[in-house]
Symmetry: C2
Subunit: 152 residues, 2 copies
């Protein structure tokens, strides 16, 4: 039988279902702003530094243009960002906040506190978890161990 504990799978499932639970927790907080969680992440990136290219946003969030292009078009339709080709390099699309988009950050200011509270964890624990998850994420991005690689 394959009845090993499958610990790593269970961590994967824990991360998977934690992420979905987070999404559900964010939904009612973001709904008044008219944002989804991925859209909110893009806004966070832009509030931090306005006028980034699609590529830069994608590097920050680990998302590609296939995801970002339609998402950014929706943000543009709502009126939170503008998209225009770069003058120096016309391949690039530069994303700017509109006045509405900039103003939105005030309305969003309370969200991290609410979420942190809903998670019911100490700041230290949150920071520790965050670091470990990011470290594992980056390790996963590498080729990994040799088990599955036919000893090549």
């Amino acid at each position: 039988m394959t009845n090993a504990p499958k610990l790593s799978d269970q961590l994967c499932f824990a991360a998977y279902s934690f992420t979905h639970a987070l999404n559900r927790a964010y939904r009612p907080l973001l709904e008044p702003l008219g944002l989804t969680y991925p859209q909110y992440l893009v806004m966070l990136v832009l509030w931090e530094a306005d006028g980034q290219t699609v590529k830069e946003i994608g590097e920050r969030l680990k998302l590609d243009s296939g995801t970002l292009t339609p998402l950014l078009k929706r943000l543009e339709t709502i009126g939170y960002v503008s998209r225009r080709r770069g003058k120096a390099d016309e391949r690039q699309v530069i994303v700017h906040l509109t006045d509405d988009g900039r103003a939105l950050s005030d309305k969003a200011a309370g969200i991290p506190i609410e979420l942190g509270c809903a998670m019911g964890a100490e700041l230290a624990e949150i920071a520790d978890l965050r670091e470990r998850l990011l470290a594992m994420r980056d390790r996963l991005g590498e080729t990994g161990c040799a088990v599955g690689e036919a000893e090549g």
Copy 2:
């Protein structure tokens, strides 16, 4: 300015991007089996106990019929499961493994080891992380703190 550290947000993003990295890590391992990661989770549930209803699978994985129905139809098309209405209660759909579906567990046996290795973490750390994520997930499911609830 709203330049608070947004620690909790960063944990949320860490979980979000860790989950996506996991998905990418699973993809090449699951592709030879013809499974996506959510399909693999359903198979794990069925390998553990065959003949569950859609509702039971959904409770285990925290997914609803809107997600599971099409997913299970795909698993049926591939030939890994069968779906039939319950005799006692015709509202229910009971999902059984086919011989192929049962046999697949052998081919999948190595996956947890490969993943655990790719994550490059100690078993103890994996177990610890898993518990903390699940605890937070369940806390998120509750109503949460009173910050956003007008002191009700």
